[in-house]
């Protein structure tokens, strides 16, 4: 469902869409990363809290590949996939989760705070809703500095009930800031079915309250996500203002690793399980003759190898030196 877009016709040439192969490879990397992280967390190798994005890979990949390296991205506690899809170094991410000195944040951030400003990644964030005002600020910055960088805020459907959503959407609207709000609607916020927390089931329907154009896309169809994201990003790029993109998907693991999920009806998880975004993409690639089952398996195993190499490097890396605990509080 697409809301009427006050500013007119599509801005993206469909032929410019990233090929499905790249999207699949991106998803395979995220799948491998998250799967391995879940194991490592279970085995006590990774400390702290870990929230994986298993089942939601298509959203990260579809949006990530629609972005330029200098575009901004702010995300949530469930942000591994978004960072990887934006091109953040796998070694640096894994080492960060291991709290090693070679981590992107030298072990000070961890899973909930991975960041890489060189790639515009302003960080995962452990405050639900906080990604949105930060992205509006990045978009404002881009606009006022006469750049054409776009800012993307990822957030869950649970975050939509936060005041920050409301304030950030309205600010982006009145400032005409180049911000794409990407709501990853994975049905649950922690243990709560989010449909019980609002009378308006479709997040995209809330955008009208801000005069912001919005659409809902099948979040397990990576091509659909990518096309919608590219459209939204290019609108921003050419200064047509903010956009809200809702991607309907499903969190296949628990809220955090270790969550037994008694609250999920079995039929529901089964139904969504049949809609695995990687399988869908694979099916299409095979259908189109764009790759053999073997080649696709090879993509997946290369991803696992890449991740395993990162794990080995992270394990071997030194922890931060004790005195680093006192560094970086201030720049000046």
């Amino acid at each position: 469902m697409s809301h009427p877009d006050p500013s007119g016709a599509p801005v993206v040439d469909p032929a410019a869409s990233a090929p499905l192969e790249s999207l699949f490879a991106s998803m395979a990397l995220i799948r491998a990363f998250e799967t391995r992280v879940a194991e490592l967390y279970r085995d006590g190798e990774i400390p702290g809290f870990v929230h994986t994005s298993l089942g939601q890979e298509a959203v990260a990949a579809g949006v990530g590949l629609a972005l330029r390296p200098d575009d901004y991205l702010a995300t949530t506690h469930r942000g591994h996939g978004h960072c990887l899809a934006k091109g953040v170094d796998v070694d640096g991410m894994m080492a960060e989760l291991f709290a090693k000195a070679t981590g992107l944040c030298r072990g000070k951030g961890g899973s909930m705070h991975v960041a890489d400003p060189r790639l515009g990644v302003l960080g995962a964030n452990a405050i639900v809703g906080a990604s949105m005002p930060l992205a509006v600020g990045a978009g404002l910055s881009s606009k006022l500095r006469r750049q054409d960088r776009v800012a993307v805020a990822f957030f869950g459907e649970g975050a939509v009930n936060q005041g920050m959503f409301h304030e950030a959407m309205n600010l982006a609207a009145i400032w005409d800031a180049p911000v794409v709000f990407v709501c990853e609607n994975n049905v649950y916020a922690e243990f709560t079915d989010s449909r019980t927390m609002s009378r308006v089931p479709r997040v995209a329907d809330r955008a009208a309250a801000y005069g912001i154009a919005a659409s809902t896309v099948d979040g397990n169809d990576v091509e659909a996500v990518h096309a919608a994201a590219q459209e939204a990003v290019e609108r921003c790029r050419v200064a047509r203002g903010p956009f809200l993109l809702e991607a309907e998907t499903y969190r296949s693991h628990g809220h955090y690793e270790g969550d037994a999920q008694p609250y999920k009806p079995a039929e529901e998880s089964d139904a969504w399980g049949a809609l695995d975004p990687l399988s869908i993409a694979e099916g299409r690639l095979l259908e189109r003759g764009a790759g053999s089952a073997q080649r696709l398996a090879a993509v997946r195993s290369r991803a696992r190898e890449r991740v395993e190499a990162a794990v080995e490097r992270a394990r071997a890396a030194p922890p931060p030196a004790p005195e680093e605990a006192y560094e970086h509080v201030f720049h000046g």
Partner: protein, 326 residues
């Protein structure tokens, strides 16, 4: 879990039990928060309550802290006694207004015409690699706001007793759990101390150690060494502040060390230290010392984090040094 019947309850069980008792004794008591209902709480603190008391008394909320905490304040002004949960103390960032500007001030601004019998239940605690946005102990901020009571249970008994006392209190009370204590076990004491009274947790001669919350364990461990002999005072609440017990102890020992997990700079320990240094100026045998976390955000790395938190070893060392200074 099968041996729970025989084993002493955990801190988390004591909270759960107090919640159930409070709800059973007064049907205006309601529990409000994110996933406190059917989900039984992110740490399972509220388990069983939803089943027992139903959705009208154990109320799940959307992720809207400013809204639901504010609504709980409004409910407290109009006949309910809400226990509202702020899942992590760090989330004060998104709901300070209803606590600081509404609950704390409305009774005063209306010259007592309105009362706000509410409990803000929250939990804190570094030491779990939860990162800088999920590890802050912010009790000093709230103790600075007139109109709020602030309690910090350090023991299984207090987890239970102070919560019940907080619910029965006619004023807004911030009740701060420490998640590193959830699994600690002890039998409940029979004679509860009232809210506002500190407790001498270990009797000693050489140095008084004042603390609260999870640091109590470290202090008691430090005291086990025996030399110097530490008198450990568990403050239990910052507001009201039981200076009598503190002063009595320091009068005896002549030395004071204040320990807390929160950042030391501009922390609550400064208030205790400043008061004692003033009131017992002539009785002190050594300077009043404080031991809190250094002024850095809490790092994710477990090693770095551990190094920053006051440990029993560090407490013993500072205490020992104090005895040598006089």
């Amino acid at each position: 879990m099968s041996s729970t019947a025989e084993r002493a309850p955990r801190y988390i069980d004591a909270i759960n039990q107090a919640l159930a008792e409070a709800m059973a004794e007064d049907d205006t008591v309601v529990v409000i928060g994110i996933d406190v209902g059917a989900g039984e709480g992110i740490f399972r603190v509220t388990r069983g309550l939803f089943e027992r008391f139903g959705p009208e008394r154990v109320i799940d909320t959307p992720i809207s802290e400013m809204g639901y905490v504010g609504a709980a304040v409004g409910a407290a002004m109009t006949g309910l006694r809400p226990i509202v949960e702020i899942m992590f103390m760090d989330f004060l960032g998104v709901c300070l207004d209803p606590i600081m500007n509404q609950a704390a001030k409305l009774p005063y601004m209306t010259a007592g015409a309105l009362s706000v019998p509410i409990v803000f239940r929250t939990q804190t605690g570094a030491g779990r690699s939860a990162g800088a946005q999920h590890s802050q102990s912010l009790e000093a901020m709230l103790a600075h706001v007139p109109g709020l009571k602030v309690v910090m249970p350090a023991t299984v008994t207090d987890a239970h007793d102070l919560l019940l006392a907080a619910v029965r209190d006619p004023d807004p009370v911030v009740y701060v759990e420490n998640r590193r204590l959830y699994a600690t076990r002890a039998r409940l004491d029979r004679d509860p101390l009232p809210l506002g009274v500190a407790r001498v947790a270990a009797v000693g001669e050489d140095v008084t150690v004042v603390t609260w919350g999870q640091s109590l364990r470290e202090c008691l461990t430090a005291a086990e060494g025996g030399s110097p002999s530490l008198e450990v005072v568990d403050l239990r609440s910052l507001v009201p502040l039981d200076m009598e017990t503190v002063l009595a102890s320091v009068r005896k020992t002549g030395r004071l060390l204040v320990v807390h997990e929160a950042v030391q700079d501009f922390g609550a320990g400064a208030e205790i230290a400043a008061r004692v240094a003033d009131e017992l100026f002539d009785d002190l045998r050594a300077p009043v010392r404080r031991l809190g976390a250094p002024a850095v955000p809490m790092p994710f790395s477990p090693d770095l984090e551990r190094a920053l938190l006051p440990s029993a070893v560090a407490i013993a060392a500072v205490a020992e040094k104090l005895t040598r200074e006089s």
